[in-house]
Structure formats: structure tokens, C-alpha cells
């Protein structure tokens, strides 16, 4: 059923340049005795939506955490555009255009929705400590510019202006997920990692979120890499699908190719879940 929400009328020019390609090459990840990822290689093409799917425990979130820089791979590399970012510290990856949402929502409860989203803009704020303390003209202007940008580009875009001053813990689950997405968008991302963006949502919420993700990819030109269990949504919006099982890539290709792949069907223990 088509969603009743249409893209926002104010098509503001995207501030971020078109998305970068992201590739994972031969990544090997171990936790003590557990071999979480074995020689995982795949790439997400610039400006397109790539999905990573697989049964629970296949290593999808581990891949994301490796790309984010939280896990250091024992072997292999992560490439953002031309740059090898495997050794780049976590907090420096934001500046290179890597943004992400989390499987279990990671909003900051001590901050309002607006403040959470503004935090996405943290890494491109330049004002020093002393000017911030005095709220000098430069600090003030920078803060206001951030507010304008966040309001026009993100809050209007995702239609959450009515809750901007709410504290995040009173929001329903679906809205919290949307705020997470908003925060990631405020980072001016070139690559957007979405970890189970529609987990726990009903059909309507899923369609809304799918619509937003498509809008982001079309209007902002961002590369989207998403992990998801909802096969319908994945097959609908992605142009490229990678399948993981037991820490290894078992298939990669267009949704149609992956859907018919015998190993993929086997991994999911049943043709039904894949051919929907």
C-alpha cells in the first residue's frame, strides 16, 4: 500500500557532496576464540543503496562495527573512497563522512530531540572553548547556522518539527528511530550506515522509513549501506545485496540474483522467507 507521506516540498540543496564508495576487503575479525568474520569482502557503490543480510549471528553488526572503527580487524582493510581508513580512530571517521544509526537506539537521554540532532553536527564545529564560554559572535553565529541547517535540511525533511523540544525517552519507538536517522543526517554524511532501521516497526512505519531512506539517497546522493531483516523492504529499495552467514560472504548481487541463490535459501532454512 503506497505511503501517504511524500518527500518534503522544500528541496534544499544537499550540503554534502555526492556519496563515496565504501569497500571492505578481506576483513578477518576475532574475539578471543570466536572467529566473527572470515575474509569478508564486498563494496557499496557510491550513491546507491546496498543491503547486508543474513541470519542472526551472521556477523552483520560486527561488519558495521568494524567499518565504524570500533573493532580492529586482525586482517584486511576498510576503504572509504580512495582512503584506507582501517587505522583511523573512531572519532575521526565522522569527519571523513561516515555516519551511522544503531541497532538498539543510541539517543542521548539527557538531551532533547533538537540537541541530539545538533550533536550530529559536532565534528564540523570550529569554535574554541574560550569563545564558546563567552558565547562570542563567532560561536554564536556558528551555533545559529547549525540550527538553521538542522531545521531546514533535516527536521523539515523528516517531518519531526513537532517534537523537536521533546525529551527522547517519551517518544514512541518509531519516532526515536527517525530522530536517530535525523542525527546521522546532521553529520553531512557521504556514507550512511543504517543498522536495522525498521526493526520492530509495523507496515506503515516501515514504508515511511523506506520512503525517507530512498529520499536521502536520491536527493542527497549519499551512499547507503543497510543491515536489515525485513526482506520485503530490502528487496524493494536496494540495488545491491550482500549475504553473510557464519561470518562469511555467501552471495552478492542484485536482489533478484540473491533471492534465487541456493545457498542463501538454504541459510534461511526455507524458501518462503526469501521469495516473498
Amino acid at each position: 500500500m503506497p505511503s501517504s507521506i511524500s518527500p518534503s516540498q522544500s528541496k534544499a540543496r544537499p550540503a554534502s557532496s555526492p556519496g563515496l564508495p565504501l569497500s571492505v576487503e578481506g576483513v578477518d575479525l576475532r574475539f578471543g576464540g570466536i572467529h566473527a568474520l572470515k575474509n569478508v569482502s564486498f563494496s557499496a557503490r557510491a550513491g546507491e543503496i546496498t543491503a547486508v543480510i543474513g541470519p542472526n549471528g551472521a556477523g552483520k553488526t560486527s561488519v558495521f562495527n568494524t567499518i565504524s572503527g570500533f573493532y580492529r580487524p586482525a586482517a584486511g582493510a576498510v576503504r572509504l573512497g580512495d582512503e584506507d581508513i582501517t587505522r583511523v580512530p573512531v572519532s575521526a571517521r565522522a569527519r571523513r563522512g561516515l555516519a551511522r544509526t544503531f541497532q538498539n537506539i543510541a539517543l542521548f537521554h539527557g538531551l532533547s530531540v533538537l540537541e541530539n540532532i545538533k550533536l550530529g553536527g559536532h565534528h564540523h564545529m570550529r569554535a574554541g572553548v574560550l569563545p564558546a564560554l563567552a558565547f562570542s559572535r563567532s560561536a554564536r553565529e556558528e551555533e545559529l547556522a547549525l540550527r538553521e541547517e538542522v531545521e531546514r535540511k533535516v527536521i523539515d525533511f523528516l517531518q519531526i518539527d513537532h517534537i523537536r523540544h521533546a525529551t527522547v525517552d517519551v517518544l514512541p519507538y518509531g519516532l526515536q528511530k527517525r530522530v536517530e536517522l535525523a542525527r546521522a543526517l546532521a553529520m553531512r554524511p557521504r556514507v550512511l550506515l543504517l543498522d536495522e532501521p525498521v526493526a520492530g516497526m509495523n507496515r506503515e512505519e516501515t514504508e515511511d522509513m523506506a520512503r525517507f531512506i530512498l529520499d536521502v539517497q536520491e536527493e542527497w546522493g549519499v551512499t547507503v549501506l543497510l543491515v536489515e531483516h525485513d526482506m520485503g523492504m530490502v528487496m524493494d529499495i536496494s540495488s545491491h545485496v550482500v549475504v553473510l552467514n557464519f561470518g562469511q560472504v555467501i552471495a552478492a548481487g542484485t536482489p533478484a540474483e540473491v533471492r534465487a541463490h541456493p545457498q542463501v535459501i538454504e541459510a534461511y532454512l526455507g524458501a518462503e522467507s526469501v521469495t516473498q
Binding site: G69, F70, R93, L119, L133
Partner: protein, 346 residues
């Protein structure tokens, strides 16, 4: 949501006092305080000075513990550092508008030295490191006699402004008042800047904050150093106010006192620091009152004031943590909501 207040630009919404009512209240309050020496009793004036000192120190600890969630048990010791620094430079004739910033900076530097190793790991280690720092600094206060005067303590010459000596409670009051205003506004500004947001993010979920681009170590160090800076300045002003100090003033109890002030007032807000400081200043006073009145039946009561103080501080911390974790600020905000929405009920 206030009735009758509408914003037309983001700029006006982001202002510190962003409604006509709050502007008038702020003005009235400022005038009231400014003229305090004229209408207040001597006791009230002295109390106001002490409250002011406590407010500055609590503002600092609130930045470290309230906003960033880092427990510091060395806050009292940092006050001592500020006090002895002011004593040292004051004796050399350095004016107060230099000694106070220097005191703050030296305290902040020590904060960085303590924080650098311990902030690389979990916040618990910082708490223990600050405990260690407290005792090491206490040792220094007692033993480095050439600078600190050892166990006998040190005297602090009065602050001077271009030859005019600040003597007496009234002069000190204006100095303290000015500092509270400056440092309070600075803290408020920090709270609504991107740095302030980063502090809270680091407290709530530091891993996620890191992935958003927040440099954890630098942010935590900043929170800790800023808190220490405020403590140093507070300690310096304390020196000017009292004129003489001994090392046992800066005991662990002082750090716990300020911790209680932060929790009672409300973690993370400037208003909380003010409430907490005021409340905590009157706790020892109340205890002393109780001791004096009951001295008739219990002759040994005088010796009980200090330990009973410790018991009360601990009880306050636990009671507020369990029942009202957001402190007096939450109670105040509830009351204010009634007035904001008036004449509507909800």
C-alpha cells in the same frame, strides 16, 4: 511551554533569557543582590559571600560530574591549590585579577595531570585517581612548608584594585558577586554550545558519542580541567575572604560537601549549582544552631557538629539519589510550570 510567548526567529529562541517575564525577573534579582550590602544584616552579608564561594566551586563540579558524569573526589584539594597559589602570588604583590586566573590555571593543569592517565579507561578509575590525588595534594599542603606554611597554614594578603584594598565583607562581596555572574554565565553558555552537548553525550553513551565524532579523551579532560579551574578560582577567593587558611580545611569532607551540593541542587544545571550551594551552606549552620540550643542538655554536643555534618552530607546524597535524582531544580521546575501555564492548569 509558556503561554503567551512566541518566537519568530531561531535567534530569539536561543537567547538565555528569552521571554519578557524572565528578563524582568532577572533584572529584579540582580538589582536585589547588587544592593544587598545596603539592606542586609552583617550575618546575611557574610553568608552571601560564603554562598558565592560555594556556588563557584559547585558550578565547576557540576561541569565535571553533573554534565560529563565524571566523579571527582579531589575537588576540595583543587580549592586548596587555588588558595595557596593566591597566597603565594599575593604575597609577591600580584593583583587579584591576575592571581585568580593563575590559580584557576594551575588547578586546571593539575586536573589534566590527574585526568590524563585515568580518563583513558572507565570513569571509575578517575574516581580512584582523584582520591589518590586528593591525598597526595594534602600531603604536599602539609609538608611543602616553604610555599604553603605547612600545618600552621598560610595567610593571604587582601586583594587590591589599583591601590584600593578590598577589606571587609562588603568589598569581598562585590568581588565574589562579579565572579559568580561571569562564571555562571560562562557555564550556561557552555551548556548550550556544542561542547556542552558533547559532555552530556559522553556521560550518557560514550561509545555512540565517539562514533558521532566526539573525541572522548579530549572532551573528558576538558570537563575535568574546567571543573578544576572553577575550584581554583573559588579557592583563591576563599583565601581573600578568610585571610588565613590551614590545610585541614581542604579535607576529603570538603569534596563530599560539594558532591552533595551537586546532587541536591540537580546534576548538570547552573540553577542546580546555585540551589545546591545555598542549601548546603545552610546545613552546617543549621547543625550549629541545633548544637547550640541543645548544649544545655548535651554538654559535649560541640564536638559532634563536624561528624554529624558528615552523616548529614551522606544522608542528603543518598536520599536525593534515591528519591529525587534531578535535585531541587526538578522541584523548582515543577513549581514554575504551574506559573508558566497559569491561568491554565496543565
Amino acid at each position: 511551554m509558556r503561554t503567551g510567548v512566541f518566537y519568530e526567529t531561531f535567534r530569539t529562541e536561543e537567547r538565555l533569557w528569552n521571554s519578557p517575564a524572565s528578563k524582568w525577573w532577572m533584572l529584579a534579582f540582580t538589582v536585589l543582590l547588587f544592593t544587598l550590602p545596603l539592606w542586609g544584616s552583617k550575618y546575611l552579608l557574610a553568608m552571601a559571600c560564603i554562598i558565592g564561594i560555594h556556588v563557584i566551586a559547585t558550578l565547576g563540579l557540576n561541569l565535571t560530574t553533573g554534565n560529563a558524569g565524571l566523579i571527582s573526589l579531589s575537588h576540595g584539594a583543587f580549592l586548596g591549590v587555588g588558595c595557596y597559589t593566591v597566597a603565594y602570588f599575593g604575597k609577591m604583590g600580584v593583583p587579584f585579577y591576575l592571581t585568580l586566573p593563575i590559580a584557576g590555571c594551575i588547578a586546571a593543569l593539575l586536573g589534566v595531570i590527574v585526568g590524563l592517565p585515568s580518563l583513558r579507561v572507565k570513569g571509575i578509575y578517575l574516581a580512584i585517581a582523584t582520591l589518590a590525588a586528593h591525598f597526595i595534594l594534602g600531603f604536599v599542603f602539609r609538608e611543602w612548608t616553604s610555599v604553603t606554611g605547612g600545618v600552621q597554614g598560610a595567610s593571604i594578603p587582601r586583594a587590591q584594585l589599583f591601590g584600593y584594598v578590598l577589606r571587609g565583607d562588603r568589598d569581598n562581596f562585590y568581588l565574589i558577586f562579579a565572579l559568580v555572574v561571569i562564571l555562571g554565565i560562562a557555564a550556561r553558555n557552555l551548556g548550550r554550545s556544542y561542547i556542552g552537548r558533547a559532555l552530556v553525550a559522553v556521560r550518557d553513551r560514550d561509545i555512540s558519542a565517539e562514533i558521532l565524532g566526539v573525541n572522548l579523551l579530549r572532551t573528558k579532560l576538558l570537563a575535568f580541567a574546567l571543573g578544576a579551574f572553577y575550584a581554583g578560582v573559588a579557592g583563591g577567593v576563599l583565601g581573600y575572604f578568610y585571610g588565613a587558611i590551614t590545610p585541614d580545611y581542604f579535607a576529603l569532607t570538603l569534596s563530599i560537601f560539594y558532591l552533595a551540593a551537586v546532587i541536591v541542587g540537580g546534576l548538570g544545571s547552573v540553577l542546580g549549582s546555585i540551589f545546591g550551594a545555598i542549601f548546603m551552606t545552610f546545613v552546617p549552620e543549621a547543625l550549629r544552631l541545633v548544637a547550640n540550643t541543645s548544649a544545655q542538655w548535651l554538654p559535649n554536643v560541640a564536638g559532634l557538629v563536624l561528624p554529624m555534618g558528615q552523616v548529614v552530607f551522606g544522608l542528603l546524597i543518598i536520599t536525593f539519589l534515591v528519591f529525587e535524582p534531578h535535585g531541587l531544580t526538578a522541584i523548582w521546575r515543577r513549581i514554575r510550570r504551574v506559573f508558566h501555564l497559569w491561568p491554565f492548569k496543565t
